[in-house]
């Protein structure tokens, strides 16, 4: 039997939660999801450190190689992921307010942004390889392809979760467990966004 979705601060009947009413403290999503998210964040932190270490060993090579990468690809991807995150936050708030169709539409829009991200990424990889910059070219491109590839894999996992959220958010009522999955899935997507924000700076912007 389903129980009512825990509403943060809204009133029954689909009202919109207002941020000025602070919610009671709770873990957004299941605890297990956070073990996974924090573990992933720690793993990427280690990879950021590895990148910085090798950059420090070969600063000229990294600077010259970075000049071959088009920053516009990375910037557009950042804007796409940030927008997808806004869509996902809106979807979670819509689920809380029992605006199911709106929640589904918002997650659908986030998925469109995710597809745009992957298309941009494929175009970028194709352009680099066509210009003779593959993973075996040097350490910059090796780690560039490893980090962006690993992140793209996370985008794919996130898209799978978002598809599951589209189905869940369409239900007229969610159990507490299902709602936790919605919150945890949303947090995973934001983590994908968060990691990209750091990668954009490391791979494209550093001097």
């Amino acid at each position: 039997m389903s129980t009512t979705v825990p509403r943060s601060s809204g009133t029954p009947g689909g009202s919109v939660p207002q941020d000025r009413h602070r919610r009671a403290r709770h873990v957004p999503g299941e605890v297990g999801a956070w073990v996974f998210i924090l573990g992933d964040l720690a793993a990427f932190a280690l990879l950021f450190g590895v990148w910085m270490y090798y950059r420090g060993m070969e600063p000229r090579l990294f600077a010259d190689s970075q000049a071959e990468v088009h920053r516009s690809f990375g910037a557009i991807n950042t804007l796409l992921l940030l927008t997808s995150s806004l869509c996902v936050v809106t979807a979670v708030r819509a689920v809380r307010a029992q605006m199911h169709r709106l929640a589904q539409a918002a997650i659908g829009l986030a998925l469109v942004c995710a597809v745009g991200f992957l298309l941009d990424k494929v175009l970028e990889w194709t352009d680099l390889v066509a210009n003779g910059h593959g993973p075996t070219t040097n350490n910059y491109f090796l780690y560039f392809f490893v980090l962006t590839g690993l992140h793209a894999f996370h985008v794919l996992i996130g898209m799978g979760i978002l598809i599951a959220l589209v189905r869940l958010s369409g239900k007229p009522s969610l159990s507490e467990g299902q709602f936790s999955f919605v919150e945890g899935g949303a947090c995973f997507w934001h983590m994908v966004d968060l990691i990209w924000v750091v990668l954009f700076a490391l791979l494209y912007l550093m001097h």
Binding site: R23, A24, V27, A75, L79, M99, M191, V197, H207
Partner: protein, 95 residues
């Protein structure tokens, strides 16, 4: 549905999104410009990036409403990773 969407977006979260987009564009500009001091420019980019990371965590992931240990874990992550990357960058020098 449009009215509902406007009601949902009339919120602090949308403001945070605008700040994040603006910060991205500023970082992009700092990162692509011929700054007189590229090392300072990159250090500024790092600081802006981890302010963005913190905003994503606190507002999008809703960690500002999370139990204190989880929030502190996240805040500690931002501080430690940002500081470590900055120290590694500044001690390695400019490429």
């Amino acid at each position: 549905m449009t009215g509902q969407l406007v009601a949902l977006l009339r919120n602090r979260i949308s403001l945070i999104w605008f700040v994040l987009i603006a910060a991205t564009l500023i970082s992009w500009w700092i990162g692509t410009g011929d700054a007189a001091n590229p090392q300072l420019g990159t250090a500024a980019v790092f600081v802006v990036v981890f302010i963005k990371v913190r905003l994503i965590g606190l507002y999008f992931m809703e960690l500002r409403d999370a139990p204190l240990p989880l929030r502190l874990l996240f805040e500690g992550y931002c501080l430690i990773v940002c500081t470590t990357l900055l120290v590694m960058y500044l001690t390695a020098g400019v490429g």
